[in-house]
Point group: C2
C-alpha cells in the first residue's frame, strides 16, 4: 500500500468506466468480460490489480456479500445492500444516515467495545420477485 505515484493507463480508465456504468454490483469476472469487449486482450490479472488499486484509493467499493466472490461498486455515496434471496440480485438501499447512526449509538450503549463502523447486508425479496409472486 505504498504511496507510489500513479500514472494514467487506458486499462484502468476503461475498467473504472465499465464499473461506473454497471449497476449490478458485478464480480471481477463479470467486469473482466465486459472490459474484454472494449480491450479484447486485457488480462484478468490487470483487472484484479486495478480494481484493488481503485478500492484502496476509495474510488470504488469492495463488497463482500458472502457468496465466495468479491463484488465491486462504483457508487461511493453511503448506501447499503439487499440481496434478493429469490433472484440473487444485489439491490441498493439508500438509507437516511441518521437511521444508521442512531442504531449504532444504541448498540454502542449495550457494548463495552468501541464501534467505529458497521457492515450491513440485508436479505429479502426484491420488488420484481414480489410482483412475480402475486
Amino acid at each position: 500500500m505504498s504511496e507510489t505515484k500513479m500514472r494514467y493507463s487506458k486499462q484502468r480508465e476503461i475498467i473504472y468506466e465499465v464499473l461506473k456504468n454497471d449497476m449490478s454490483h458485478p464480480s471481477v469476472d463479470s467486469i473482466y468480460m465486459n472490459v474484454k469487449k472494449i480491450i479484447p486482450d486485457i488480462s484478468l490479472g490487470t483487472v484484479y490489480r486495478n480494481l484493488n488499486l481503485l478500492a484502496n484509493q476509495k474510488k470504488i467499493l469492495r463488497l463482500d456479500i458472502g457468496d465466495g466472490v468479491v463484488h465491486f461498486d462504483a457508487r461511493i455515496t453511503p448506501h447499503y445492500h439487499l440481496i434478493c434471496d429469490e433472484c440473487g440480485e444485489i439491490k441498493d438501499l439508500f438509507l437516511d444516515e441518521s437511521l444508521i447512526s442512531v442504531f449504532i449509538d444504541k448498540v454502542q450503549k449495550e457494548s463495552d467495545e468501541h464501534i467505529h463502523n458497521i457492515d450491513i447486508v440485508f436479505h429479502g425479496t426484491c420488488q420484481n420477485c414480489l410482483k412475480k409472486k402475486s
Copy 2:
C-alpha cells in the same frame, strides 16, 4: 441438500465438540488443527463436509466476516459480531433483539423490497485493545 438420514460419526461429534469449546470463531483450518489433536488422521475434507452439514442443519453458524475465510460459531442464540480492527479478534455482541427489529422496521419503511433478514458485522476496537492504548 437432499434429506438423507444422518448416521452417527465419531468425527462429526468431535468436530462439533471442538467448535463448542472454542469461543474464537475459528476458521476451518483452525478447527482442523484442533480436531487433529484428538483424531490425528482426520482429513481436512471431512472437517469441511461436517461443518457444512452442521451449518445446513442450523446446528452451527457460518460466519462471513470478509477476510476470505469462512468462520464457524457453535453459539446459535441470536447475536452479532464485532471485529477488532486492532487485534483482529471476533467478539460476540449480544444485543437486545428489539433493538434489531426496531431498526429493521425503520429500514423497511424506507424500502420497496421486503426485508427478511439482516447480516451485521461491526468494526471497532475491543476492550483489550482499548486498555492497551490508555
